[in-house]
Amino acid sequence: MKNKITELGIKVLLLFPILSLFSCHSSDQQNAQSSHRTDTVVIQQMQFIPASITVKKGDSILWINKDMVDHTVKEEKSNGFYSDTIHVGKTWKMVATDSADYDCSIHPTMKGRIVIK
């Protein structure tokens, strides 16, 4: 009986630092995640609102299509980011890494801009 209690005590002592390490790691992850925010661009009335959005590098931008028709978000320069079709009522999210001009590839008169501060 005494041996079993000693054995259990050793296991707890061994597990504690391991669990603490996981706990710290998880906390670090949460801190890293919480340092980046998500900003929103609403697509409505054939416009990106706001037309120009300023964010920190690593922040996310969420586009919400509240319009009557499908849209896309496409970086104007070639080989840039592209959302594919954002259907009516759907969203698309991207981590912003660089300043960029973008448009809707379906409706080329719709323009938007991302500014990294």
Partner: protein, 181 residues
């Protein structure tokens, strides 16, 4: 009177831009449109542009024309779907009327013209018609459909359609410039 003014302006616009729409005498009555009539006009006007787009997708070899036509077909179908869902919810049955009839008559003439053309002449006729058609429909929505709509949800839907039509017009004018180069 408002309707008479609208039809006079629309007729001129169509005559200048396409020359294809003939308005019936009945359409010039100074009466307000009812919601069932507005629903019919909205669905008809959108369906007509889908019909034009289908011809362009079939006949044109110009990438910009084909891309524009695909956008028109998708967007106007999306508007029809939402309009149909709303009138169903409201229990409104679209009612044929002088305006929807004259729109269909104009479409028949335009389709005949578009079918008679090919190559660059077709592209030009198609995009010129798109510019004129969207101008006329925007005017109709602004001056007749929105002011006459009684139901708030129908009015709101028409107000939401306007930016779509205006964006289409700007896009059509962009393509028109390219085609006319």
């Amino acid at each position: 009177m408002k309707i008479l003014k609208f039809f006079t302006k629309s007729a001129i616009c169509f005559a200048v831009s396409t020359g294809f729409l003939s308005l019936s005498a009945n359409a010039q009555k100074a009466v307000n449109l009812t919601d069932p009539e507005i629903a019919s006009i909205a669905v008809t006007a959108n369906q007509i542009d889908i019909d034009y787009a289908k011809i362009a997708e079939k006949k044109s070899k110009n990438a910009e024309i084909i891309n524009f036509a695909q956008t028109m077909a998708k967007d106007h179908q999306s508007v029809i779907d939402q309009a149909v869902a709303l009138v169903k919810k409201l229990g409104v049955t679209p009612k044929d009327n002088a305006t929807s009839k004259s729109l269909k008559a104009g479409e028949a003439k335009t389709l005949k013209l578009l079918n008679s053309k090919s190559g660059k002449a077709f592209d030009k006729a198609y995009i010129d018609n798109e510019v004129g058609y969207h101008k006329a429909v925007i005017k109709e929505v602004e001056t007749a459909l929105i002011p006459d709509a009684k139901n708030a949800e129908l009015k709101s839907l028409l107000q939401s359609v306007l930016p779509v039509l205006k964006s289409h017009l700007s896009h059509a004018e962009m393509v028109q410039k390219e085609v006319n180069k």
